[in-house]
């Protein structure tokens, strides 16, 4: 099986989707000759032409707004937002149009739009380049929100997102773009809208998605040395949540720690804690604990290591959970 970086896996997934369906078009800033600032669309304009890989004007509302129009004409636009912090000018179109159009039309309209967003911090960038804004979209009915954590999910996930007739916010963990993993390119799209058990364990469940999955797996590795068996769940889908997989794990371990980069207040951890507590009330030995960003704007990069959850903070939360 080939070893691919996550970035390259997305590239190959996009290519496969474009080869399969001529209605798939890519839109975004600098995605043509440059191949995008992360080079995810590298080579695609050369191979598929400017009509299918379009360098748009520098205007995110315009990009998403025209993507909606293209979708209404029968295309399947895949939009690249250059960095997480630049999606807000398009927020109105995503919330009021993309998410609601199908319901508005009583089901006569389908908007199979994918909005790709490189997400999260840890790359030493200036402001607005390290945001974790998944909660805004996850709270928005009508959207699907996913975040991949490894190359295989990136390759298949982007294809599955494109094939889906619902609009999908597709987060790519930018600081893991260059991490390599095996990708089985045989078979068919799989699993994007369900959670995966990334590592089995019986003492405490740790759930994460995107960039934090690796951190949690490392924490589990470290915990194993102290004979604590963490079960790590990779959510993949943030909306809808695969509560069945989560609940099954929590019923086994009795404890849950949620980890994400976003600020904890009203972050994904809040929903997971609320719904799992409701569902597994009598199984929980400890309250669901949350490890996340602090409730402040993403700090300047020289402080990001102190802002972002790391192995130690995950283990600290696990210990606190186990101490209950």
């Amino acid at each position: 099986m080939p070893q691919l970086t996550i970035a390259k896996a997305v590239t190959n997934g996009l290519r496969a989707a474009m080869e399969k369906d001529p209605k798939v078009v890519l839109m975004g800033e600098d995605i043509g000759k440059l191949g995008g600032v992360f080079r995810v669309t590298e080579g695609l304009q050369k191979d598929f032409g400017e009509d299918r890989v379009m360098d748009t004007p520098l205007a995110e509302a315009g990009i998403v707004g025209t993507a909606i129009g293209m979708a209404l004409r029968g295309y399947r636009p895949v939009v690249e937002i250059q960095f997480d912090g630049f999606v807000y000018p398009a927020f109105d179109h995503i919330i009021s149009q993309v998410a609601k159009m199908r319901a508005r039309s009583l089901g006569t309209i389908r908007l199979p739009i994918v909005i790709r967003i490189p997400v999260g911090g840890g790359i030493g960038a200036v402001e607005h380049h390290s945001e974790s804004n998944e909660a805004y979209f996850a709270h928005t009915a009508g959207l699907r929100v996913v975040c991949v954590s490894n190359a295989e999910d990136a390759y298949w996930g982007i294809q599955q997102a494109i094939e889906t007739d619902d609009p999908v916010i597709f987060y790519e963990p930018k600081r893991r773009y260059w991490d390599k993993g095996e990708v089985d390119v045989s078979g068919a799209s799989r699993g994007l809208f369900t959670a995966a058990v990334a590592r089995e364990g019986r003492d405490c469940t740790v759930v994460a998605y995107g960039p934090m999955v690796k951190t949690c797996l490392q924490a589990a590795e470290a915990a194993a040395e102290e004979d604590k068996a963490l079960e790590v769940i990779d959510l993949r889908s943030l909306s809808p949540l695969d509560l069945d997989t989560l609940a099954a794990s929590v019923e086994k371990t009795g404890r849950l720690v949620v980890v994400h980069e976003a600020s904890t207040f009203l972050g994904m951890g809040a929903e997971i804690a609320a719904s799992i507590t409701q569902r597994c009330f009598y199984h929980l030995e400890a309250p669901v604990l949350r490890v996340g960003g602090y409730n402040l704007p993403y700090p300047p990069s020289r402080l990001e290591e102190e802002f972002l959850p790391d192995l130690d903070r995950v283990l600290d939360a696990v210990d606190r959970s186990l101490a209950f």
Binding site: D51, P57, A61, G65, I68, G69
Partner: protein, 408 residues
């Protein structure tokens, strides 16, 4: 072809006038000195003056050919459209007052802008409306009951947009201009521009108001359309008001000139002159279909009524202005023209009136008998594919409702 297609009519002079306007004018209102209410200026394309006379001006010559193509039957069709859609509007306003609609956005005064542009469209063209394009909807063959249903609150848009190539109403000001531009970019990708095949080449028309021009979305649509040379016509109905705000709060120069800043033509047309609107729009659509790119049309018109039935325009504008614009009524002038030129007779006008009465009944009865959607239905169209949370909520909802039916 549209279901509400133009039908012909008979011979001679004008009968009763039924412009069916809203608020009555009190003597008190008339005491206010009549202000100079902008008449659009010499740059405005006009073909029928307010008195219903055919006029030729310097700027209108370029579009005369499109007006010349119109048969008497076409003109009578316009008259019928204008009259019928005004009747729908009158009826809807009444239904709202009677509590049958939650709100209604009247097109009173803007009928010519909508019918003129709406009739310039070909079946393969696509229109993106705001919430006030009842006249365009009519031209596209959308049953007015669909529009009323939305204002009644039984749905948020009840027609299949692809059936009539008429998108759902867009309430977020300006957003549809980008959707229209994207749709036009799709037409380009389909190769349906500039082929020379009149049944294939297609264009898009995006409607919006004077207020909307301030929104970033509209400027971005101009940028995208300019850069991609997309086959889209931007049709701005300048009805002088954005709720309570006059044009001066949105721009300091005439709106049609906005296009100059983006590199494509802008035209001001008399929006109360169905002929001129038709001709100018036809031209702009032809340009778009043949690959010449976008055009901005500013239709100079007036919102004769309130912004919506929730609005009270006496708070912010003087009735004298409204009086000035009454003299420019789009229906009266076409009627005068048709009658004077012998293109329609009283039998025709009577027939249209009768048809309007029938339509009013259809609208009224249809509204009164419109079924409410079931509560369950709100879960139906959110996602195409399975969504566990929504499925669970639907189940809970049904069970919860049943607990009442069971006499809980």
């Amino acid at each position: 072809m549209s279901d509400n297609a133009v039908v012909g009519g008979g011979a001679s002079a004008a009968s009763s006038d039924s412009t069916g306007r809203g608020d009555a004018i009190t003597p008190d209102d008339l005491a206010v000195p009549v202000p100079a209410v902008g008449d659009g200026g010499p740059e405005m394309v006009q073909m029928l003056n307010p008195e219903g006379q055919r006029v030729e001006t310097a700027v209108s010559a370029a579009y005369a050919q499109y007006a010349a193509e119109l048969t008497d039957e076409d003109l009578r069709g316009f008259y019928r459209d204008l009259t019928l859609i005004r009747r729908v509007d009158t009826e809807a306003t009444a239904l709202q007052r009677q509590g049958e609609l939650g709100i209604w956005a009247s097109l009173l005064g803007q009928e010519a802008a909508q019918v003129g542009s709406g009739r310039a469209l070909k079946p393969q063209d696509y229109a993106f409306p705001t919430y006030r394009e009842h006249g365009v909807a009519w031209c596209r063959g959308v049953d007015p009951l669909n529009l009323l249903g939305m204002f009644r609150g039984v749905n948020n848009g009840g027609w299949d947009p692809n059936e009539k190539n008429f998108h759902l109403y867009t309430i977020i000001i300006g957003a549809q201009t980008l959707h229209a531009t994207g749709y036009a970019m799709g037409i380009q990708r389909d190769g349906d521009v500039g082929t020379g095949d009149p049944d294939r080449d297609a264009a898009v028309i995006a409607y919006f108001g004077d207020g909307a021009t301030a929104q970033g979305d509209v400027s971005e649509a101009f940028v995208f359309a300019g850069v991609t040379n997309a086959p889209v016509v931007f049709f701005c109905q300048n009805n002088q008001w954005a709720i309570s705000e006059p044009n001066e709060r949105q721009t300091r120069i005439p709106l049609y000139q906005r296009a100059r800043g983006f590199g494509f033509p802008g035209i001001r047309v008399d929006g109360n002159d169905v002929l001129a609107v038709y001709a100018v729009t036809k031209h702009a659509l032809e340009e778009a279909r043949s690959g010449q790119g976008p055009t901005l049309i500013e239709a100079w018109t007036y919102r004769m009524g309130a912004h919506t039935t929730s609005d009270d325009p006496t708070k912010y504008r003087v009735s004298a202005d409204v009086e000035v614009w009454k003299l420019r009524d789009p229906i009266m002038r076409l009627k005068a023209y048709l009658a004077h030129e012998g293109k329609a007779d009283s039998a025709f006008f009577a027939a249209v009136e009768a048809e309007a009465d029938e339509l009013a009944v259809h609208v009224r009865e249809g509204t009164l008998s419109m079924p409410d959607p079931t509560g369950e239905s709100m879960f139906d169209h959110v996602y195409v594919e399975h969504h566990p949370l929504l499925a669970a909520e639907r189940e809970q909802f049904v069970a919860y409702q049943a607990s009442f039916d069971g006499g809980h």
